[in-house]
């Protein structure tokens, strides 16, 4: 082969090898980037007045008077929406109108009984009113404009009838007058469709602005407030302004989504202009403000993590990891010390080393099975504790899992201490034990600490071992180590896959996993810095 080609191939190889490393960096950025970006919005976002109301109700945070004033202002901007819809519904909700007419008729009948009229008068009045009612009902139910107008005209004839002056039956005529005003500009043939679609609009509005004024407070906390975040509000606004249809293209083909402006669906009615009004005035109705919700990391959450933060999850994760460290550090350091200082290369030591390697290779889910079979079902009942998943069992399982990591890190740290340190101490007449405790251990401490932090970060992220031994997706904050707890790791899993409610709040889904990742990244950064400083120091710089 010509040297030129060989050198060219060599260059290409260098580029390809470099590309593989660049690819690694890109993967890291590609994994962390979207998660950090979207998870960050759980903490820093534009909060609306609904968010501040929710904070006040759930956590008692914020200035009550200020929020009340703010929500009053918002109410003023919102009032037009509700009045327009109310009016529009007056024309199309025939069932409600018919009910109203019937009620008035019944009321009138009751009233008649109390007055001092003769029986004939009463009977006549009744029959007239019944006729009015029936015509009115047919006007409400009919979709034919001519028929409606005729019926209404009939009813309105009685407007100046002295018999009905100042009686409850006058309500029927009022109803007719209102109705003739309301249906002005409404295509009556479309009434059924309007009725369904206005219901849809109302549902979206409830999500956007909270329950309409005058309705009962919903039982579930998540339904009590409108869109708490501006991005959510924007999404809902899109749903509000665009009508979504799935259209069949033909047999065997997938359905296609089609969006039409909702104002078109209500063309010619008063609702048509409402969407532009909402679009224009949404900031006034919700009053978005940049919010930094640091309490996300301490707050408890409502079911499904709909509102609130990840406080209990962080607490649970810290409890599990710290307890696991308390179990594993003594064993890890002593084992490492023995392996470095006392052990010679014989069969027993080889078996021990093989066990450590095996332990490191055991899949985490098998640790979960072991934790369930040993700690939960065997060990805890041995001491009279209830045989159920709890923090103690989970942290002991995690301690076993992280034992090899701990031993290896400590061993490396102890080995890194220069031989001269030990020799100097031994030469001064210190015993080997004394030398280890007073000289080797202090010198190796940063390295051991690095190992502890790395084990911590591994333990904090493990999910499979705690699945059956003490993690729950929902539950109260643990009162003792014999209670199960929520953890960040299991919470992340549950929010991504298990929880339907959580899918409605993607910022909280990402917020949970980002909290976990950040916790672990911080721990790792500390470990990396500590280690590089230790190696510099031991190298004598």
């Amino acid at each position: 082969m010509r040297p030129g080609i060989r050198i060219a191939i060599d260059k290409i190889f260098t580029v390809v090898a470099g590309a593989s490393v660049v690819c690694l960096c890109l993967v890291l950025a590609g994994v962390l980037g979207p998660m950090l970006w979207r998870g960050g919005s759980a903490v820093a976002f534009k909060g609306t007045v609904e968010f501040r109301k929710m904070q006040l109700v759930l956590f008692g945070r914020g200035d009550e008077d200020k929020i009340a004033a703010e929500s009053r202002q918002a109410e003023i901007a919102r009032a037009k929406i509700y009045s327009t819809i109310e009016k529009f519904k007056g024309g199309i909700d025939s069932e409600a109108l018919i009910d109203k007419a019937k009620q008035i008729y019944r009321q009138f009948g009751n009233d008649l009984r109390q007055t001092d009229r003769t029986a004939e008068e009463v009977a006549e009045l009744r029959s007239v009113t019944r006729q009015i009612r029936d015509r009115l009902e047919s006007a409400f139910a009919s979709s034919n404009a001519a028929e409606v107008n005729e019926s209404l005209a009939y009813v309105l004839n009685f407007k100046d009838d002295p018999r009905f002056k100042n009686t409850s039956a006058a309500g029927l005529i009022g109803l007719a007058e209102q109705y003739s005003k309301d249906i002005h500009g409404i295509n009556l043939a479309e009434r059924q469709r309007y009725y369904q679609e206005i219901r849809q609009v109302e549902d979206i509005l409830t999500e956007l602005l909270g329950p309409a004024p005058g309705t009962a407070t919903p039982a579930l906390m998540m339904n009590r407030f409108g869109a708490t975040r501006w991005d959510l509000a924007q999404k809902l606004l899109g749903q509000l302004c665009w009508y979504e249809e799935w259209i069949k293209q033909g047999p065997g083909q997938p359905m296609v989504k089609r969006l039409t402006p909702r104002s078109q669906r209500f063309a010619g009615t008063e609702i048509e202009g409402l969407f532009i009004y909402i679009q224009k005035n949404l900031p006034e109705m919700l009053k978005p403000k940049p919010t930094f919700y640091w309490q996300y990391f301490i707050d408890d959450s409502t079911p499904g993590h709909y509102f609130g933060g990840v406080g209990p999850e962080i607490l649970g994760t810290l409890l599990l990891t710290i307890l696991a460290m308390l179990f594993v550090v003594p064993f890890g350091v002593i084992s490492a010390a023995y392996l470095v200082e006392c052990a010679s290369d014989n069969l027993v030591i080889r078996i021990i080393r093989m066990s450590i390697n095996t332990l490191a290779g055991v899949p985490s889910i098998v640790f979960g099975l072991f934790g369930l079979a040993f700690f939960v079902l065997f060990f805890l009942p041995l001491f009279g504790a209830p045989s159920k998943g709890c923090i103690l069992a989970a942290s002991m399982t995690l301690a076993v899992l992280t034992l090899p990591v701990m031993i290896r890190a400590s061993e490396e740290a102890i080995r890194a201490v220069p031989q001269t340190y030990k020799e100097a101490s031994l030469a001064l007449g210190a015993s080997r034990f004394r030398t280890f405790v007073k000289v080797t251990l202090p010198a190796a401490l940063p390295g051991i600490l690095t190992g502890v932090i790395l084990s911590l970060s591994r333990v904090a992220g493990e999910t499979a071992p705690v699945l059956f031994t003490g993690a729950v997706a929902l539950g109260p904050v643990p009162k003792s180590i014999f209670d199960p707890t929520r953890t960040l790791s299991y919470g992340s899993y549950d929010m991504a896959v298990g929880d339907k409610l959580a899918a409605m709040v993607p910022h909280n889904q990402f917020g949970m996993v980002v909290t976990l990742v950040l916790l672990i990244l911080c721990l790792n950064t500390v470990a990396i810095i500590l280690r590089s400083r230790m190696f510099k120091k031991l190298a004598g710089h």
Partner: protein, 297 residues
């Protein structure tokens, strides 16, 4: 005399503490076998290993793990196919091509890649990668074998890179310089001299990466789609598969303690443990060989 006694007593105490690891391994085996034993005694082991029907709640229940075994193997092998070229190239790049300075920048990146918890990778697979794949490639589901394999490849990479890089670095200067002296280019040196000399360590790294991929639970549970089937045709990566680990994790929450299903899951755990142990022995063998090869030079 007293000094002698304390020395030996102290040593014995330290030794006993050190034996915790052995005890732990022993207990893990003992308790997994203990819970699985009634199942192994009652059901046919042959059917357990060769049937593809995993219907634990049917009457009568069927516990065939072949589809699950194939699923585990399938995602592992695909992920290794993705990870090995990138991993070896990256290891070579770090050990032979770049300066110490750049290496010190890249190493923490690999460490962070290894530190990200599996549940976060799984979350990424479900929430980001799956919708993207579904949209981009028109797969019927975004959670499939390809998705799981890609993520497993990323998770196996740090192990493969660090173990192979160690053994590639351990190949002495003399070998490299002899090769350069003969007029070989860097690529030729690496492929014809360095990698053959370091092959034990590289194989050990690959096996360790495989162990990580087989034993991984959260990612496959979340990203593989969990359909207990053998992919057909076998090259179609867009199908859902189900692995042993995901089955244990997914089913255990719903079984009654002591039921045949529960026992069968422990038997599946035992199967997994045995597979991992075999792989572990293979990796140990190659690691020891790598050490000996390093010692000779």
């Amino acid at each position: 005399m007293r000094g002698f006694l304390t020395l030996h007593l102290g040593r014995t105490a330290l030794f006993l503490v050190t034996c915790t690891s052995v005890l732990a391994v022993f207990l893990i085996f003992l308790f997994v076998v203990r819970e699985a034993m009634p199942f192994l005694a009652k059901f046919s082991i042959k059917e357990f290993l060769t049937s593809t029907a995993w219907y634990p709640e049917a009457v009568p229940p069927k516990f065939g793990t072949l589809a699950l075994l194939v699923g585990s193997g399938y995602v592992t092998i695909v992920s290794i196919i993705f990870a090995v070229p990138v991993g070896i190239l990256a290891a070579v790049f770090l050990s032979d091509i770049v300066s110490m300075k750049i290496r010190n920048i890249i190493k923490p990146i690999i460490e962070i890649l290894a530190a990200i918890p599996s549940v976060a990778y799984g979350f990424f697979a479900v929430m980001v990668l799956a919708p993207w794949m579904q949209e981009k490639f028109g797969f019927s589901t975004g959670t499939n074998a390809l998705n799981a394999s890609l993520i497993l490849a990323v998770m196996a990479l740090p192990t493969i890179i660090s173990v192979s890089e160690d053994s590639i670095s351990a190949v002495g200067r003399e070998l490299r310089e002899a090769s350069y002296g003969c007029g070989a280019t860097r690529m030729e040196t690496i492929f014809k001299v360095v990698i053959p000399a370091a092959h034990s360590g590289i194989i050990a790294g690959i096996v360790l990466g495989m162990m990580r991929a087989i034993g991984e639970t959260m990612v496959v549970w979340m990203a593989s789609g969990n359909a207990a089937q053998i992919p057909s045709p076998w090259w179609d990566l867009s199908q859902s598969v189900r692995t042993l680990t995901a089955t244990i994790a997914g089913d255990m929450g719903e079984t009654e303690k002591g039921s045949p299903h529960y026992r069968a899951l422990f038997a599946a755990g035992l199967l997994l443990l045995v597979i991992i142990l075999c792989l572990n022995m293979v990796s140990e063998y190659f690691l020891i060989r790598a050490k000996q090869a390093g010692g000779k030079r």
